[in-house]
Symmetry: D2
Subunit: 344 residues, 4 copies
């Protein structure tokens, strides 16, 4: 049966792979520095986000993008506030910390960074002057680690708070396409691009072999990014591979179609499992769906579909995750539902 372990189990969407093949023998300069694919994609992204002055760069992966951006947006003694389950706090082996900056996690339990918790952490950190790390950045993920999608209202509230507290905002968009394409989503790419100091548009989890676009508004990060990317080992020699892939994905909406498909597949699982009496763990409208299930059910789902166990609760139940991708087929979804039904 198909795996629902994650959205990077397959290679690339066929259109992306075809573009790599078509351009394979062309010679270009390296490092994303001046080849026509990267240059055209930069222009395309600036148009898509409606920020003609933005710097547009390309990273190999999300952790690399995150550590470079957080490092470049902060000085040595400054910190970034994020929710407890933020990717930089839980799944990047201290990558931000290894660049000398501090991750300041809140107690938010739903992966959305709240104004209340940001305020609480900020007050604590600024209560003794130079004796504590100074918060100067907020880290948001959209869609969140639990599949949630930021609304415009929620996003504006945290951005307003950030403005008032001299903090910049960085949006980790590893699954940004899924957020933008989610049913009911009201936060636009233009609006994110208007308020964030920098944000990423993920490709790895949306049908590229690899790659993240980084959009940068912040003047100091514009200066920092090219150097930091090389210094941190994150600059791809054959840089045009990123340009070729993203141009293909972005130029006629392919990226949103891929994400939309992944969302639909995941939401079909959710609808079907809810009908069967399964309990969603989080309010997700995107391509990750979490369910709280008895341990025995969890074990069987994991075995059958490669689900990740996200948590084992004190009451013995498990939180398991289904992730759909651009490559998930309706038949795969049906297989899940049939299997779940058979479980009783």
């Amino acid at each position: 049966m198909a795996s629902f372990r994650n959205d990077y189990s397959e290679g690339a969407a066929p259109e992306i792979l075809a573009a790599l093949e078509a351009t394979n023998l062309e010679q270009t300069v390296g490092y994303t520095e001046g080849d026509p694919y990267c240059e055209r994609t930069r222009a395309l992204v600036r148009e898509l986000v409606a920020r003609p002055e933005a710097m547009v760069e390309f990273c190999i992966g999300g952790t690399s993008a995150n550590l470079i951006c957080v490092n470049g947006l902060l000085r040595d003694w400054e910190g970034v506030i994020c929710a407890a389950d933020a990717h930089i706090n839980t799944h990047e082996t201290g990558a931000v910390g290894a660049t000398g900056r501090t991750v300041l996690a809140t107690a938010d339990s739903d992966a959305f960074l709240s104004v209340e918790e940001a305020e609480r952490v900020w007050r604590r950190q600024t209560s003794t002057g130079r004796h504590m790390t100074l918060p100067r950045l907020l880290y948001l993920t959209d869609a969140t680690e639990f599949g949630g999608v930021w609304t415009r209202g929620r996003f504006d509230a945290i951005c307003d708070w950030a403005d008032e507290h001299d903090c910049a905002v960085y949006v980790d968009g590893a699954r940004l396409a899924n957020a933008l394409a989610a049913p009911g989503a009201d936060l636009s790419l233009h609006h994110i691009a208007r308020r964030a100091a920098a944000f990423t548009i993920g490709g790895t989890k949306n049908g590229l072999l690899f790659g993240e676009v980084v959009v940068i508004n912040h003047p100091r990060l514009k200066e920092a990014f090219p150097y930091l990317q090389k210094e941190r080992g994150g600059l791809l020699a054959k840089g045009r591979l990123l340009g070729v892939q993203f141009e293909t994905a972005l130029k006629d909406g392919l990226w949103l179609r891929l994400a939309s498909h992944a969302n639909e597949m995941a939401l079909a699982i959710r609808a079907g499992l809810e009908e069967l009496g399964f309990t969603p763990f989080s309010d997700s409208t995107s391509n990750q769906q979490f369910f709280t299930v008895p341990a025995v059910t969890g074990e069987r789902l994991c075995e059958a579909f490669g689900c990740e166990v996200f948590d084992k609760l004190p009451d013995g139940r498990w939180v398991v995750r289904f992730v759909a991708s651009w490559a998930t087929q309706p038949a795969d979804v049906e297989a899940v539902l049939a299997f779940a039904k058979a479980l009783g």
Copy 2:
């Protein structure tokens, strides 16, 4: 006309790309952690290097591999001795330094680290106890930054010195295939694998889209590597892309055929230009060839063939570089020679 700027101007060798296509829709786990391609390639590399106990890992690029390995082989206050033109000293924006380790460059001017210079730097650095960075690692590049190939005698001499001075040896093999395939080369893969604490086998410059294999003998680096790779943002989500590419390259000698071809093309340029009276800058038997030329000649070669200017000498002459790749065609070489002849 074809560019001779570097050996990563094109995409991937056709066999490599075909393997990516053939496996594109398969689902595997990520991060090089357990997919069949990476696992088979690990076994294959252990056989090729005749080190059944070696750890075999996969990096996205050379700078990432270098910074992880040097970091993991040293402690915070220790340093790595290398030749002045070593890649880590000149083209990685302080990447090793950014991980907290110190690069200690010698005055060697031919890109080979010499025993004499290693000794001189070591004596200086150990003359005042804890007041100076302690050298504990040597960094070699094979083929070197100037195309030179380490002989077994030269390699053993520096490894012997390292043993006597409690230093480990790391070999940056970004162009290792070119070194192994160079005419007259007498230093074997087995021997490198026997004496180096760790070394890389480069793919980026030898027909892969990207990727370096890292072979690790050193116990502490074995512990360190998996964590450091993630912490430094160097772990690829779709890890099997590295396994697929390297399995194809390594399983039946393709990697050496690709490198051998690149060497031949470069040596044909060298032979032809020498016949025309050009002066080689370094003694290179591999796919990079350097010539010392009048500035005006340099300008025209750079314009026509995308050569890099490696240095501008005090006497006004330029050092220009031609790099051939797996994709270079005999006609491309002929075009260079015809152009050079026409220059007079």
Copy 3:
């Protein structure tokens, strides 16, 4: 009125200062490397702690000692587990993080690191292999940040847990003398020295102008310490100042008499204030005493005695701290009690 803000408000105990004067014009070599005062003190400490093989070094201050020891006991991707209020987590501006190591705070609210919380954090951090920082060290403070003193039972329990989980134990002894001299204390210096990988004996807060002794059992920290101390800017040129001061403090028990006095003064405040109906915030038997008071009371105490406000509770009350030192006089204590009584 006398300040109770902290135990480093004054200069040095008269005996210490006299020793500095007596030796002032002597010439010695620098950096604690071989002068007779440091050498004799090293021997003295080894005797006091009954560890003839221990390395004994001298730091200028506590943050410097902590960052060097935690750095040297961990590798780049490893972390140290500590209570939420641990000094390294709350009052050192990310100093440990700035050396590239990660602080992993538990939810312990009483400044004692508990086995339960250590276990919880350890499980979380080891649940996804290399994707999270690996805990390899526990950080304890004795006396704790809230004045608590570790019992032998509690200490052995956490050390046993550490042994079972391949973690070392580091004890920040900025106020170790106060802990050892506290009424009812049953954890001996010998026992700490037997189980800790390293620990400090604080001088700054116990009558020296400045200085902490570091006692090191751990082989890798023994190698690391001398270099790291210089690399981190923590090596004093006129090193013998540390030897002179600590020899005076340690040679005939002065350090314990100074701490004992400070404890007595603080406990007299506690007894007196409790009698007046004040509510202690923590169970402290050492020279720091915390009380939960109405805000208005808090304000007046702070104004009169320089107390620090440790927290402002949601119910509006304040937590204020009194710290007594070697220099606190009985009359100063009486002044506090009289003032408190007058407050009503």
Copy 4:
């Protein structure tokens, strides 16, 4: 016989020690944050340097001051150009590098950073864009590591070059008093304070127990310094000790008298030894004097006077150093000369 090993062999000048005694039992707040001694000294320094807007801070030692200032004046991928023998390059165990910044040493052999060498290193480092560390700071030492004193002309030339190349200038003044008090010195404190982004006024080597004043003009270092100092473990708890000592030293010219005395003693050695036919190694007009001597002479001088061997030349001769301090007596100088005469 008296040691001439260095200028930090003794404790403190009597006036300094007396001031510490006189204030010993006063209670002040810690961390140099608001005690009257530090505050008055700040005002005094601003007057002395004629920079009413300067930030004035206090460090425990020179390495701590250097690593904080260089770190704060640079961003992660930037570097500091200095002469080969600069203290940060040779005697601080990679302390600047450990904060993530890069030391870029020139080939200057006399410890003065020259315009020519700064230019050469700058050209090299800026020749490939983001692939190399970007120089943005110059590090000078006055008096230099070889006792040389910067003239105003030489200083202005390097500062002009720095201005033209968007580099800031940092002056390590560990022996600034000796430079200012040197016979013939024409570079004033006011002028240094006008042109340097930051500089230090050393106390450790000029009669204090320890301590360096840091004078900061650069806006970003003003923001950075307080946090970085704590983060790097360089903030003294009993901060007023620095204020007390420096107020005493600076308020009526004591610091210059102490330095002047040290210079005179050293120059008397130089004059005497030159008369005896000894060969000075460097052109020093301050309190360090270097001589190139036969090895056998070197051995005997080192044995008798604790001289440091600075170098052992290829021709077998040694370079030995005499350092005089505020505490050196004329009789000590006479002893050197008599001894040297007896050597023949």
